[in-house]
Amino acid sequence: MKRRKLDVKQLPAKVAGEVDDRFHAATPLRGILNKVFPDHWSFLLGEIALFSFIVLLLTGTFLALFFEPSMQEVVYDGSYTPLRGMHMSRAFETSLELSFDVRGGLIMRQMHHWAALLFMAAIVIHMCRIFFTGAFRKPRELNWILGMLMFWLGFLEGFAGYSLPDDALSGTGLRIASAIMLSIPIVGSWVTTSLFGGEFPGEIILERFYILHVFLLPLVLLTLITVHIGLVFIQKHTQWPGPGRTNNNVVGERFVPRYTIKQAGFFMMVFGVIALMGGLFQINPIWLFGPYEAAVVSAGSQPDWYVMFLDGSTRLMPAWEIRAFGYTIPPLLWPTVVLPGILTVVPMLYPWIEARFTKDRGHHNLLQRPRDMPERTGFGVASITFYLVLALSGGNDVIADKFHISLNAMTWAGRIGLLVLPPLGYYLGRRIALGLQQHDREVLAHGVETGIIKLLPNGQYVEVHQPLAPVDDHGHPEQLPYAGWTVPKKMNRLGALGPAIKGFFKPAEPASPPKTPPALPAKDKDKVH
């Protein structure tokens, strides 16, 4: 029998044919490859969170191979000499071993911590983008809620991880967490003893937090992330208004290859930045804090940044304790249980609250610039101001120390600021949005300022404006509709400056004439917003 020669060139087509025979994949696969994604830098903020999460999974797996969440008391006799002879938990001892004995363990620990901080930061910034551009509006309310849930899950996940090394800071954080649970009316003491398996700190809490931190919470987060991205895929990404862009289309690039390859490059960049931070910037040096001891705390002990706003709210809370019928509601309840509750529920309902005010129940696939929705922008600025006052108050002792301000004055400034500054933020945010919008309309109506001053026969000086639209016989420009998108405001933007020349020391090629923007099909042009 003659052996058939393997034709390498035909191999991919042959394999693809065999695959399609079995899975009938050609049509759906082409749909995915060709799916169009709109592109804008602000759409990449959520990706930073996703990529940080992947780095967290990678580094976390490495750490889990060496860490033991045991509260068994041991006497340290390891390679970090200053702590030798200290009593500590096995959890703290293994954290030290990770830092000093496991080769590369410290950079993994630090990368894990930095990635966690970046994960939370990216979530918050991404949420601000979604809020200020109105991307949460119908039909995307569910994804807004999922995002909010992921913030709080990330918060819990981060707190659990922060507690695991059992150093002085994490133990103090746990102590406060137990006090917060204690403050819950009626069931507080039962919840606390049940979670800690008795009195604080007990012997079981780290093992419970460990299984939460490495299994349950990541699993839930991973599921929600999958649904979150799946919904973006199904509902298609929102896009900014612009030429050819309507509520009924997506203008951008096909998913594969250029869009995907840019995502891959961006992932490497995020990973690289985390690696640099993990190697060069020290974080959570637990060997300097020492093991947790109930009687020891140092001044200037701050939680991770995403917890600071709740630390601040706790510091600012006046000493108001409610006592009735022989029972107590501690003041700790309001800033640490009730406030986070409000901060969870109200934002989740926001899409419907806004729709109620605007009486707008339509589908929205075009984003709004913050200036085009001044009330929302004002509300957003007020919320950020509220948050910043709380977060800064979380470090008010450090500020008081570094700037030589009285600590009590800082607390009072925070209390007053929390009430006074958000309304001011609303006013300023709204006025700035209206002002920017007004200026866009002005340029559309009168044209771009040229900087050329003309002396009229009557002695009057006027600035010459370059209209953006063609002028009629009388020299009056056509009326341009306000489209909710960038208006060119400088002559350079209108092509008054030549194109950039490529090359390092000398031009790589002779300058080419400026490109004309690509023409769009006429039917799309008409539909501009």
């Binding site: 082409r30 060709n34 799916k35 169009v36 008391e73 200053p82 004995d101 080769r103 410290l106 990368m111 102590r175 406060i176 137990s178 006090a179 403050s183 819950i184 009316p185 507080g188 039962w190 003893t193 009195e199 604080f200 700190p201 298609k236 050819g244 009924n248 289309n249 997506v250 203008v251 096909r254 390859i261 840019k262 490059g265 961006f266 490497m268 990973f271 690289g272 930045v273 640099l276 190697g279 060069l280 109930a294 009687a295 705390v297 140092s298 001044a299 002990s301 600012l316 000493a319 022989g326 107590t328 501690p330 003041p331 700790l332 589908h363 607390t411 090359g503 769009l520 099909p521 799309d524």
Partner: protein, 368 residues
């Protein structure tokens, strides 16, 4: 088909999915100087990435840090040593490896790949009325197929396994976790309770398990004291609610506090002529170190003003007025540990904080 270029086929396929590629253009003429330049830049980034990766492995293996691969007997040397450079060099090389790879990929994608504008139709709103009707009726028919509305007995019967299984599913985890906070009453007892010392009064001790004599604390000074429990673990986290701050007040401050204590039901002088018959011993006084706000150790003592500050949330307690909270979110005084002197001359706790619960408040906590 044979005459069509592959791009035309791609475009036709995209059209089938409602996608129109309206603009597709290479950014550089093929083979032009600028394109070659871009190719060289991408290649440079990839080479840089590869070399940085090798440098990472070299540093990982040969940089002096641990006694790699064996770690026995190795000691970390504090101070300046090449060890300090290990983590930074790993971060630097790994960071450059990844950043250069990322930059290479990004340059390839953004510069070398043709720029395109594609438009995909987007379906706004729900499904067509026809589809809704079909699916809606399918769903309604599924309900009918169960026939619960026709069979009321099943409706009732179904509640039984739902309730039973639900209760069982709840009972196991709740029953496993639940711990009664009041039997024993852990919030009302600390390490200073005589049960922890075979029924005898508990002495105060330092962290190193040595007992404390009154003259060990200088005037105006303070030390942290722990219960000298029989098990020898009084200073460990097993008795996390027990640490106290033992303060030696100046004479006039001590007199002021003694006067203040007369207004309180606890810790006042039992015998007005004996200054040690109250909660204080001489000018020494011990207050719980566990903040009544959130349980942090209130450990910053300001000697001049006799204020004790908790560094977590800045609650301040005025010791000379029986640890009254004077600023911050705390609402309750720090409980005082009444102390006395035993026959061997060591300080001991006369009672376990007089039965006042230590630490943060909770629902059933009595007025203190």
């Amino acid at each position: 088909m044979t005459e069509k270029s592959r791009f035309e086929i791609v475009r036709e396929g995209a059209r089938k999915d409602g996608i129109e590629i309206v603009h597709y253009e290479s950014q550089f003429a093929p083979g032009s100087k600028t394109e070659n330049r871009m190719v060289r830049i991408v290649a440079f980034f990839f080479l840089l990435s590869g070399f940085a990766g090798l440098a990472f492995v070299a540093a990982y293996v040969w940089w002096p840090f641990t006694d790699f691969p064996s770690v026995d007997g190795w000691e970390y040397a504090p101070g300046n040593s090449p060890m300090k450079g290990f983590t930074p060099i790993l971060g630097l090389t790994l960071g450059v490896t990844l950043l250069a790879l990322g930059l290479g990929i990004l340059t390839w994608g953004k510069k070398l790949m043709p720029h395109e504008i594609a438009i995909q139709e987007r379906h706004v709103g729900g499904s067509s009325p026809e589809e809704r009707k079909l699916t809606g009726n399918t769903l309604a028919f599924i309900g009918q197929e169960f026939g619960l509305s026709r069979r009321p007995l099943l409706k009732v019967a179904l509640a039984a396994p739902a309730a039973g299984l639900g209760a069982a599913a709840l009972a196991v985890p709740v029953g496993m976790l639940i711990k009664d906070p009041h039997h024993p009453d852990i919030f009302f007892t600390t390490g200073f309770n005589p049960v922890n010392n075979n029924g005898k009064p508990v002495r105060l001790m330092r962290e190193d398990n040595t007992y404390i004599r009154p003259e060990d604390v200088s005037v105006g000074g303070q030390i942290t004291a722990f219960p000298a429990t029989a098990d020898g673990h009084g200073a460990s986290n097993k008795y996390a609610d027990s640490p106290v701050l033992l303060i030696h007040l100046r004479q006039q401050d001590a007199d002021h506090l003694r006067g203040q204590l007369q207004n309180h039901s606890q810790n006042k002088l039992q015998n007005p002529s004996d200054p040690n018959s109250g909660g204080m011993y001489g000018n020494l006084v011990a207050y719980s170190k566990i903040c009544t706000h959130a349980g942090c150790p209130a450990s910053l003592y300001e000697q001049q003003t006799n204020k004790l500050l908790c560094p977590c949330h800045q609650s301040q307690f005025l010791i000379t007025e029986n640890a009254r909270p004077v600023f911050g979110p705390a609402t309750r005084r720090l409980p005082m540990l009444p102390i006395g002197l035993d026959e061997e001359g060591f300080l001991y706790a006369k009672s376990d904080f007089g039965g006042v619960p230590v630490g943060p408040a909770f629902w059933e906590k009595p007025e203190a």
